[in-house]
Amino acid sequence: MITVKNLYKSFGDNDVLKDISITYKPGECSLIIGASGSGKTVLLKSLVGLHDPDKGEIWYDKVIFNKLPFSEKKEIRKEIGMLFQGSALFDFATVEENVRFPMDFFTDWSDEQKRERVEFCLKRVNLINSNKLFPNELSGGMQKRVGIARAIALNPKYLFCDEPNSGLDPHTSILIDQLISEITKEYNITTVINTHDMNSVMEIGDKLAFIYKGQKVWEGSKDDILTSDHKELNEFVFASNMAKRVKELMKF
């Protein structure tokens, strides 16, 4: 379980996160939603320790992660998998080497064990016969799959996904969403996803938090989001004319 308590982060005079408190449970896909520039990515990067918060606490189970020294943070990070917005696959490595990368650093497994684990992870994300390809030879959807395979390589307890659907067509987006959701349930992972894709929200959102101008202004489930009368949330969710008409029809 991850618990965030009164988190603040600013860059110069720009207060990006203001008093964020939230809890993420295992086996759930928790979504952070909000418009571009609302602070979602900064929140996610603060959670994994890529940004140091100015104030507040980030608890990983019974440990305050952001107060730990580097060496102890490293131990927690071994239990974290992350899927980046652009996949962030290593250009210098093949698909197989990308997935194997964290194993080389953090395990003493034999080559055979690593090979088996790589095969398992790639099969789990439905990627076969691509082991020897380099990232620039893969489609966007395949890159995301490799990113997920790399993120689950060490059996993480926590999975973070930054805009997993960006740049993908609607069909591939849903496949990636379903894959993340399946993995979350299957391995009882605490999954936190950043998104502004409403399809994702309705497809896999077990728990939602709406960030507006750096503040968490709404929290609830995907059913609550349709009936909420929160002004900013409604402006975000029902931004298009079609969505507004759907909302009108729902009133009847």
């Binding site: 980046f84 962030a88 290593f90």
Partner: protein, 247 residues
């Protein structure tokens, strides 16, 4: 001035992170071998071509300027050797490598920074600076002095070839000149310079790449800065080492 000091401070802090014990020795050595190939072996062709042509030009220029019958012709070989070993094979080759290797390193690391590959490593708990930069510094600092030796030999060979082609002096006079009053210490001095220059090139280029920002334009800017700053630093280090070692 404040910016320069701030930049220097960041450079020192980065080097402090770079020079830590690698997470896994096996991975370090694997990267080291890859970087020896990429930074040193792949530089051999350009170093060879430039060294042979410059060696030939130095011999021709020296021969045309030593027309006095009172100066023995073997001095052409002697002066070519001294020019090559003292300055050309270390400083000039280092300036060329600052362009070739420096831009390669800063653009590679810079691209990794803007595509979040470095963030991905950090997030996994890997010391990305150590993993990416230390093998490059080690590979270039250890093996580029051998590149300097190769450049020296090929420079002299270029001189010998042009003499045989043009007959500007007798080849035996050239060989006598090369052997005349030879000081091994100069070779050592030049190798030390090359090692120091290699450190400057790789560490400065890595620094600018590691802190690249602003998309592909930012990577281009960091690459240019890396070349300019490392070239100036090479000239400063050259002056300091010369003062210390040849005083």
């Amino acid at each position: 001035m404040k910016n320069t000091l701030e930049l220097f401070g960041r450079y020192i802090l980065l080097m402090k992170v770079v020079f830590t014990k690698p997470d896994k020795k096996q991975i370090f050595w694997r990267q080291f071998i890859i970087d020896v190939e990429k930074l040193v072996l792949e530089s051999i062709p350009i170093v060879a071509v430039i060294s042979m042509f410059i060696g030939a030009v130095i011999v021709l220029q020296t021969a045309y300027n030593l027309e006095s019958p009172f100066i023995p012709k073997m001095y052409v070989g002697y002066m070519a050797r001294e020019s090559l070993v003292l300055e050309f094979c270390s400083t000039m080759i280092a300036l060329i490598l600052a362009g070739k290797v420096g831009s390669n390193i800063s653009s590679e690391i810079g691209s990794m920074r803007i595509t979040e590959q470095i963030d991905a490593m950090e997030m996994m708990g890997i010391n990305s600076a150590n993993f990416l930069i230390l093998p490059k510094i080690a590979a270039a600092t250890v093996f580029n002095p051998l590149l300097m030796l190769l450049s020296f030999i090929l420079g002299l060979l270029g001189g010998a070839i042009i003499i045989m082609m043009t007959g500007v002096i007798n080849i035996s006079q050239f060989v006598d000149g090369i052997q005349f009053s030879f000081k091994q210490y100069y070779v050592f001095y030049s190798m030390i310079k090359m090692a120091a220059f290699s450190f400057v090139i790789t560490s400065v280029a890595s620094f600018y790449g590691y802190y690249a920002s602003g998309g592909s334009l930012g990577v281009g800017r960091s690459s240019t800065k890396a070349i300019v700053v490392s070239s100036v630093m090479i000239l400063v280090v050259n002056l300091v080492i010369t003062k210390l070692m040849l005083n």
